[in-house]
Amino acid sequence: AQSVAQPEDQVNVAEGNPLTVKCTYSVSGNPYLFWYVQYPNRGLQFLLKYITGDNLVKGSYGFEAEFNKSQTSFHLKKPSALVSDSALYFCAVRSSMDSNYQLIWGAGTKLIIKP
């Protein structure tokens, strides 16, 4: 069965420090991987995606994510956190073999950046 795991409910980082939000997945076939962010009282916003190619994907707001096939992970990273990065982050995956094109979503990780 396809699944996505975000093992941390909450991540706390001091402003200016690097941040990592973890995501692991399980799919048959090749994975298509996504990160979305949900700010308070706002809808989800697309951050970045990995379909194929370079394992390091750069996205919006200075975020990047690294696809690691052997570890089946797609961790979200940023070199220097901002207080404004505080939000709920969702990882999602679909299998290249899924003709329904539907995403499987993680439960979300709350990122808190402290000044």
Binding site: V4, Q6, Y32, F34, Y36, N41, R42, G43, L44, Q45, F46, K49, F90, A92, R94, D98, N100, Y101, Q102, L103, W105, G106, A107, G108
Partner: protein, 115 residues
Amino acid sequence: EAGVTQSPTHLIKTRGQQATLRCSPISGHTSVYWYQQALGLGLQFLLWYDEGEERNRGNFPPRFSGRQFPNYSSELNVNALELEDSALYLCASSLEQGTGSTRAFFGQGTRLTVV
């Protein structure tokens, strides 16, 4: 360009009643998706409409239904409301079929509270 709009933003219903939620996609987008985001859970896929047809539905009972109109706007109907239906309901639209192939644009959601 207007984003995905959902109405109402908040909805309070009593158990057993029916709720109707509305979504207007981004102009030109033909695919509309509905998700349920319950507290502490990831996004659970509800329904996918494209070109007026239901293309796929998630693992929800039949009392969750919807439709897509000729202008591509969509309604989600929840009959015989139960307390467990209390959640944020998100609508998304995309230009291409399936949220798993490209980025999806999300509305701000309708917060449904069943009392």
